[in-house]
């Protein structure tokens, strides 16, 4: 009936023509003007960000929501304390009362895993033969170690594959540690086989220098092995360290700090990340919130005073009365205290490179390994180099370090006077890491008991410093079965890791 009217078929035909002509319009959304899809990126586009994130995670973040950084460790290890009379709240209160809940580790967990996820992308999407895959493998191992060192057992073998599972199972910390060595070995193989490529421009750490990357990987290997001393399989450890020696590239040496610098300047968001969180606003003497929030910890100050360490004025600045003052961790600041801000050693400038791993730490680790008979050489000279490198990094000089070491009569400084050289090495390592690597200091404390801090927190008298961080809240909501299998309770913060005392 309708077909009697010629108009209808005409309309149908017109409609069909219209549909075909609009086929192109249906492709409207294939190209996004708002950014780059991941399919448009290569490893070299991601690598600089992954490196910067790694160092930012180490120093960045903020006080009130914690904790994608390690400033809890800076405080627990006696470096920093709160500079306010506020009743502490949120994450700060949890840190101070050692009453940590599961939200404490959320940020840390999330940003470290995402950092590794990006490194995986670099490994899979870089120019063939470039240094980037090997470098990323080394970085990945270091970050996994940081995760294990905070949380213990974590998702590892099933992690970082959202296409396979959204709920990865947990692997044992011991097994992960073993595999990290395997990963680092393959990183070294890959690095040694690599050549200079255009991708090197994206390496804002070692500028494509495969030998420095190899030394870095070896240093991380040494750290992983040393963690397992004195607890752990000592035969495995000594065989492993011997293999590092055999490899031959050695460790990060004098002046070879792992420094990341994409081109920091004193402009908004372009500052050195430590400066950008604990320093001052661009072109200004107005401090960020964290600059005001933290001050020197009296534990560190008192120790530096007791050994006459000149680095005190590098770690901490002068207070309003020209002296250096601080506060105890967990202690409510009284109105009469005159506290110090961070010093020039920690905040050299807004454009200074960011420290991922120090040469000083490399030497102290080597000194410990020699002292324990795991490496050959002179632990005294390695110890001296550790102190020298610390002075140098903080803006002092090797000469000043040498005169500090030679003039001191304190057995915590002058190794020759020490009845317990290991303790002296670790105390100096502890000083050298002040404000720079609280996590390493916390790990050393958990492993060796050094430094001894009489009152871990004034806010929690009688309580010990925790030995791990609880699994994050997000795991309980998003990976419940697996995390429940780990059977953590609030008191699990006192369960030592497999390598800890």
């Amino acid at each position: 009936m309708l077909y009697k009217n010629k108009l209808f078929p005409c309309l149908v035909i017109c409609g069909l023509i219209f549909m075909v002509s609009c086929k192109k319009k249906l492709d409207t959304n294939l190209d996004d003007p708002n950014g780059k899809g991941i399919n448009e990126l290569a490893g070299k586009d991601v690598f600089p960000q992954a490196l910067l994130s790694a160092v930012t995670n180490k120093v960045g973040a903020n006080i009130s929501t914690a904790s994608d950084n390690y400033d809890y460790a800076q405080q627990w290890m006696g470096y920093w304390a709160r500079n306010t009379g506020w009743a502490s709240s949120g994450a700060q209160q949890q840190m101070e009362t050692f009453n940590m809940n599961n939200s404490f580790g959320n940020g840390n967990w999330q940003s470290l895993y995402h950092n590794i996820y990006d490194l995986n992308f670099v490994i899979a999407n870089s120019t063939k033969g470039s240094v980037l895959p090997g470098a990323s493998r080394a970085m990945r191992a270091m970050i996994f170690e940081d995760l294990v060192d905070q949380f213990g057992n974590i998702p590892y073998s099933q992690a970082l594959r959202p296409d396979l599972t959204l709920t990865p199972a947990y692997d044992s910390a011991t097994a992960i540690y073993k595999d990290l060595i395997v990963q680092l070995d393959s990183a070294i193989l890959s690095l040694q086989a690599s050549q200079a490529t255009a991708d090197d421009a994206s390496d804002i750490l070692f500028k494509g220098d495969k030998n420095l990357w190899t030394k870095f990987a070896n240093t991380i290997k040494l750290r992983i092995y040393l963690r397992q001393v004195p607890k752990g399989d000592q035969a495995y450890v000594s065989a492993g360290i011997a293999k590092i020696v055999t490899q031959g590239s050695g460790f990060l040496g004098a002046g070879q700090d792992a420094l990341i610098n994409p081109g920091f300047t004193d402009a908004s968001l372009k500052q050195n990340p430590f400066w950008g969180v604990y320093g001052y606003q661009p072109g200004s003497t107005s401090g960020y919130q964290n600059n005001n929030f933290f001050t020197a910890n009296n534990v560190m100050l008192n120790f530096l005073d007791s050994v006459g360490d000149p680095r005190k004025a590098l770690f901490f600045g002068k207070n309003s009365q020209g002296g250096i003052g601080g506060n105890f961790f967990g202690e409510t600041l009284t109105g009469t205290a005159v506290t110090s801000p961070f010093g020039p050693g920690l905040l050299p400038s807004a454009s200074a490179p960011a420290l991922l791993f120090s040469a000083s730490q490399s030497f102290f680790m080597q000194a410990e390994a020699v002292q324990r008979g795991l490496l050959t050489g002179s632990y005294a000279s390695l110890y001296q180099q550790g102190v020298e490198e610390s002075f140098r990094y903080l803006g002092s000089s090797v000469a000043a370090a040498d005169s500090y070491l030679s003039a001191s009569t304190n057995r915590m400084v002058k190794l020759s006077l020490s009845t317990n050289p290991l303790q002296t090495i670790l105390y100096q390592k502890w000083i050298a890491e002040c404000g720079l690597d609280g996590l390493e200091a916390w790990s050393d404390w958990r492993r060796t008991g050094y430094p001894f801090i009489a009152v871990p927190s004034y806010a929690a008298p009688g309580l010990q410093t925790p030995k791990r961080i609880l699994y994050p809240e997000s795991e309980y909501t998003q990976n419940a079965n697996n995390v429940n299998g780990q059977q953590q309770t609030p008191s699990s913060i006192y369960t030592p890791l497999f390598w800890a005392q």
């Binding site: 950014g35 586009d45 910067l52 009130s64 929501t65 372009k270 409510t332 009284t334 795991e475």
Partner: protein, 1107 residues
């Protein structure tokens, strides 16, 4: 030119003889609005106004023919005394079988033909309480309709949903169509309620299937008025007064103290000493600059009753507040808001066409001092008839400007929160003049700015312009066949600048060692520079339909066929600018999202732009076959194509079928029955598709919209929403790393969302059945519907363990069922005695959304968190009602008692969040009684909602600050009521272990501010309420009182109350449970300090018909 000729034709055609005035009412006295009055045998017509009043030029002896949908035709002879007469007509309610309703595409049909539920609501009902936003006038009037407000700010967001939730993560908001043009829900706030002729609600997918994917959540069709009859003008003015009706329960007993260190400080105000801890009693003393009220009781004799120093004046003198609670010191910060609505409209028309125009000027002053809202705009609608050709079109343009207090210079807190965080001793009105203070900084409190500073120095503005236009051309090819082309274009543009002025503090505040230097605002954040943000956006929507409509009768059969095509193009643009990306405390780096197109300038300013576009096209067909005018079968089929999906999945289709039968016409027993006058039954099935990727790009951080999830200062606020239409969603872009690019080095990070390859649309299969029953000549009208909607292929960002490297994996997983019963009952009239008449209509809805499945039963993923709150989240959980609150709680024994430590008396927080109940209302009751006596009418609307829970997060913040009446119940070391101590596997009641404090804090602050408020469960209450939504008393001034003046032909005066009373369970002492932070999203069910307290509005309105 053409326009003026056309206008003249219309006017000339009307110029005749003497005026007759009158009012069309039904036989029960209610006005019949917009009836057409024609002089028989002539072309002269007039149209009654909203109140049934009309004027027509007619000679004595002429016959007036009164027609309208909803009444039976009536002829009246004009006598000599017909001036100001009542024309009583028979209501359609006497004849339900002839009701005509608007259906999809604006096609009008007899309601009896329809196999699905539609509800029409007249402008007079919608606007009986002189609302500013028409959506608020819909509340409680129609079953199955859920209207939610975010707050009572000057321009509150309103969310309109029909029949529950079909999409777990996607959009559930009803599609709004104004004169055939789809618009964003926000447009509802920008429409003059008096422009609305009627609104039709197509609640279910059966009714809306023709609109395709945009309409899977139902449609609200708004038709604006067209020009009809003799030239008339209507003017309405409404003046309203708004005041805070329910303030949270706050304590007025205890003074300020927030845990400062034990010690004595020199008091710069008196030269004496300030003790935080009283050396004699050992208890906390008043700390004058606190926000936390954990100090001594005001009745305590320990404190020297000298005044509390609060700041220094410009000339160095001390300002004090007295040492006592200033009752309502905070509540009285809020003022009585005043609104003024002026509307003028005009209408004229004849058989050649018509013209309608209106202008609206509305201004409001909010309850927050200096908050303002203005709406200015107008509308022109025209129609033109030329034989087989008809054209109609219209355009409206509105500007809506708001200017409200912005957030604070520190931690981006809303004004309301800075008001609440003052001590009970602070009388805010007394410190309004911040110029009294040194540097005009208004310091009264170490941690929260003086709210007056914020009022004067932090402003968030928004100016939105909205143009909406439509043109429809229709040509009758045959008597039974027409072709219609319809185009609609809308453009919304907005400019939303916000600023926070610089602030500097006097030296004494920042001095180390003094009591004022306790980490206060003067030190952290310290002096602040000027902070500024600007948001600009616009979005465009082109929508075109071309369709054929055929109506044929063949014997007892009747056919209606519609076939058409639709195409729609949308695009949006957003621009964000901030002058202080890195250093500002508000616009600081931590709160600016990683914007991919962001450009950071060396001076710290930055901008970013956003572009989205989308294209959709469809073909559809719709056929109704009627048999003998009592049995109807209807089916439709539509295929959609959308550009936002992968090419393989971008085309999809869905059908609908339904049937209806008017049994009262055919069943002998019913026909014979005196009681049953009408009975129709119906049954339908419809499928719809919904591409659940639509969303909004939130721009800005300084705005106050829908804001706030975090008392720790991480803002949830934003200034403007840019619709993204779901464009580009399936290809997530990599984030630019913070600070990049550095020189030529850029750095990207993979998106934390991964999208499944080949994502498909969500599908909803909807079944509905219902009947409509008229009893006793339709004085009782009952309509009952049942619906069941199963939506599968849910587009869900499954939350992944962060150990996968990502946060969410967007995939098709999950199924939700959404079913309910709707009952509408009208008793017209219930009582009628002489001039007194009482009508009652009521509606009841039950709706339940249940999540059937998520992620195919993978245990860890059978719940998804789609709205994170600081104390938990809003979840979809397989097997449970949708949505649920999961919140933190203390460990409890199997009997629900709190387990406390045997030594400290303190509970422990359970790391696994606990289910606290569903947050969508399950039960809705609306009751609308209406009384009339002579010229008086009194109408009321009661609204009940129940069956839901709500989490009051502001309670957590109030306990932190010690201001909640709840935490003031016990300020000593007490034994937690009904607590138990674990003994092995058993639990013994705790009778002797009071709470203890760790770290030197007084017990009360340690417990309430650091322990108790870490759990969300104490702040979960029933969300039920009864409200008296509307109460309107109207008086129609008799014509004779208006005298013989020729201008004003009709006059009505009204007194109206809105939200006069609310009844809620005693456990809810905080706010209006209807409010929800997440207004535009699905994660309803929690409130924060970003919602100002509820208000009531009382207004007076005058309405005049002129000429």
């Amino acid at each position: 030119m053409l326009f003026s000729i056309w206008l003249q034709c219309i006017i000339v055609a009307n110029a005749q003889t003497q005026p007759v005035t009158g009012r069309v009412t039904d036989n029960l006295g209610a006005p019949v609005p917009y009836a057409t009055i024609q002089i028989k045998g002539s072309k002269t017509t007039a149209v009654a106004d909203a109140d049934g009043k009309f004027t027509i030029n007619a000679a004595t002896g002429a016959v007036l023919v009164i027609t309208s949908s909803g009444i039976t035709r009536k002829e009246v002879k004009v006598g000599p005394s017909l001036s100001d007469a009542q024309f009583v007509v028979d209501r359609v309610s006497e004849n339900l079988s002839e009701v005509v309703v608007t259906t999809a595409l604006g096609i009008r049909r007899q309601a009896r033909e329809l196999g699905y539920a539609t509800t029409s609501i007249k402008a007079s009902q919608l606007n009986q309480a002189a609302v500013v936003n028409p959506a608020t006038g819909l509340a409680a009037k129609v079953s199955g309709v859920d209207i939610r407000l975010t707050d009572n700010g000057v321009n509150p967001q309103v969310k309109v949903t029909f029949r529950g939730s079909r999409s777990i993560e996607g959009n559930n908001a009803a599609l709004i169509i104004v004169d055939g043009v789809p618009v964003d829900q926000t447009y509802l706030a920008n429409i003059n309620p008096n422009d609305i002729e009627d609104a039709t609600i197509l609640k279910g997918s059966n009714a809306a299937a023709l609109y395709g994917m945009a309409a899977s959540n139902g449609v609200m069709l708004i038709t604006t008025r067209k020009g009809k009859g003799k030239f008339t003008l209507n003017y309405q003015n409404t003046v309203s007064f708004e005041s805070i009706s329910y303030f949270p329960a706050i304590q007025n007993e205890y003074s300020g103290y927030g845990g400062e260190g034990p010690g004595a400080y020199p008091n710069p105000a008196t030269g004496g000493t300030i003790y935080f801890i009283n050396p004699f009693s050992g208890l906390a003393n008043t700390a004058p600059f606190e926000n936390e009220s954990y100090g001594s009781a005001f009745n305590s004799m320990d404190f020297k009753p000298d005044s509390i120093p609060i700041g220094l004046t410009a000339d160095g003198k001390w300002l004090y507040t007295p040492y006592r609670a200033a009752k309502n010191g905070r509540k009285d910060f809020f003022q009585t808001g005043v609104g003024d609505q002026n509307e003028l409209s005009g209408s004229l028309g004849n058989k050649w066409g018509g013209l309608y125009f209106s202008g609206d000027h509305t201004s409001k002053k909010g309850v927050v001092p200096y908050d303002t809202y203005t709406r200015n705009g107008g509308r022109v609608n025209g129609t033109l008839n030329f034989g087989r050709f008809t054209a109609s079109g219209g355009a409206s343009y509105y500007n809506i400007s708001t200017n409200i207090a912005g957030n604070s210079y520190w931690q981006n807190r809303p004004l309301y929160w800075d008001v609440m965080n003052q001590l009970p001793s602070t009388d805010l009105k007394s410190i309004k003049d911040i110029n009294l203070f040194q540097n005009n900084q208004g310091f009264i409190n170490a941690y929260f700015p003086n709210p007056w500073w914020q009022v004067f120095n932090s402003r968030a503005k928004n100016s939105t312009n909205q143009l909406l236009s439509n043109l429809q051309l229709s040509y009758k090819l045959k008597d039974w066949l027409s072709v219609t082309a319809r185009g609609g274009y809308s453009r919304t543009s907005a400019d939303a600048p916000a600023y926070i002025d610089s602030i500097s503090f006097p030296a004494f505040l920042a001095a180390a060692g003094g009591p004022w230097g306790q980490g206060n605002l003067a030190i952290t954040p310290g002096n602040q520079g000027f902070q500024k943000e600007d948001i600009k956006e616009h979005y465009d929507d082109f929508n075109t339909d071309v369709f054929l409509a055929a109506n044929r009768k063949e014997g007892k059969f009747k056919f209606n066929l519609i076939a058409g095509v639709n195409y729609r193009t949308r695009s949006s643009y957003g621009y964000w600018y901030s002058n202080q990306v890195n250093s500002g405390n508000v616009v600081g780096q931590n709160v600016v999202p990683s914007l991919n197109t962001k450009v950071t300038n060396p001076d710290g300013s930055a901008y970013a732009t956003f572009n989205y576009k989308r294209y959709d096209q469809s073909v559809y067909g719709d056929l109704t076959v009627g048999y003998d005018n009592w049995l109807f079968l209807h089916g439709s089929l539509r295929n959609d194509w959308t550009s936002i999906l992968d090419p393989k999945n971008r085309s999809f289709s869905y059908p609908s079928v339904d049937a209806s039968a008017v049994l009262s016409d055919v069943v002998g027993a019913l026909k014979a029955s005196g009681a049953i006058s009408f009975l129709k039954v119906r049954l339908g099935y419809a499928g719809t598709g919904n591409v659940s990727l639509d969303g909004y790009q939130k721009l800005g951080v300084m705005g106050n919209i829908g804001a706030g999830t975090d008392v720790n200062g991480i803002p949830g606020g934003y200034s403007a929403l840019v619709p993204n239409f779901g464009a580009y969603a399936i290809y997530p872009i990599a984030a630019v790393g913070v600070g990049f690019p550095f020189g030529g080095t850029n750095g990207y990070s993979q998106n934390t969302t991964v999208v499944q390859n080949g994502l498909k649309p969500e599908k909803t299969a909807s079944t509905e059945a219902g009947f409509q029953l008229g009893l006793f000549r339709n004085r009782v009208n009952l309509e009952v519907n049942y619906y069941n909607q199963v939506s599968s292929n849910q587009t869900i960002p499954l939350q992944a363990s962060n150990a996968t490297g990502i946060n969410s994996y967007l995939t098709n997983a999950g199924k939700i069922r959404n079913s309910g019963v709707e009952v509408d009952l009208a008793l017209t009239p219930l009582i009628k005695v002489n001039d007194f008449r009482f009508d009652l209509s009521g509606n009841f809805s039950y709706q339940n959304s249940k999540v059937i499945d998520i992620a195919g039963g993978q245990a860890e993923l059978d719940q998804i968190n789609f709205g994170t709150t600081i104390l938990g989240g809003i979840y979809a959980i397989a097997g449970k009602s949708y949505p649920q609150i999961l919140t933190t709680d203390f460990f409890r024994d199997p009997k629900g008692r709190i387990i406390v430590d045997g030594k400290t008396g303190l509970p422990t927080l359970n790391p696994t969040p606990v289910d606290a109940g569903n947050t969508n209302y399950k039960y809705f009751v609306g009751l609308s009684p209406s009384f009339s006596y002579k010229n008086f009418t009194l109408k009321a609307v009661f609204d009940y909602r129940g069956g839901a829970k709500i989490l009051h997060e502001e309670g957590n913040a109030m306990d932190f600050a010690g201001m909640y009446l709840g935490d003031a119940t016990n300020r000593q070391a007490f034994i937690i009521p009904n607590s138990v101590i674990q003994n092995g596997n058993g639990f013994t009641p705790n009778t002797n272990v009071p709470i203890t404090s760790v770290g030197g804090l007084p017990t009360a602050i340690y417990y309430w501010a650091n322990f108790y408020n870490q759990a969300g469960m104490p702040y979960v209450t029933s969300a039920a309420f009864w409200k008296l939504r509307e109460l309107a008393l109207n008086y129609a001034v008799p014509r004779k009182w208006l005298g013989k003046q020729p201008i004003v032909k009709g006059l009505d005066v009204s007194v109206i109350g809105r939200n006069l009373f609310m009844w809620r369970p005693g456990t809810n002492r905080l706010t209006d449970p209807e409010f929800s932070t997440n207004a535009t999203g699905n994660a309803v069910g929690y409130t924060t300090e970003f919602q100002t307290p509820p208000t009531r509005v009382i207004s007076a309105s005058i309405r005049a018909t002129i000429l």
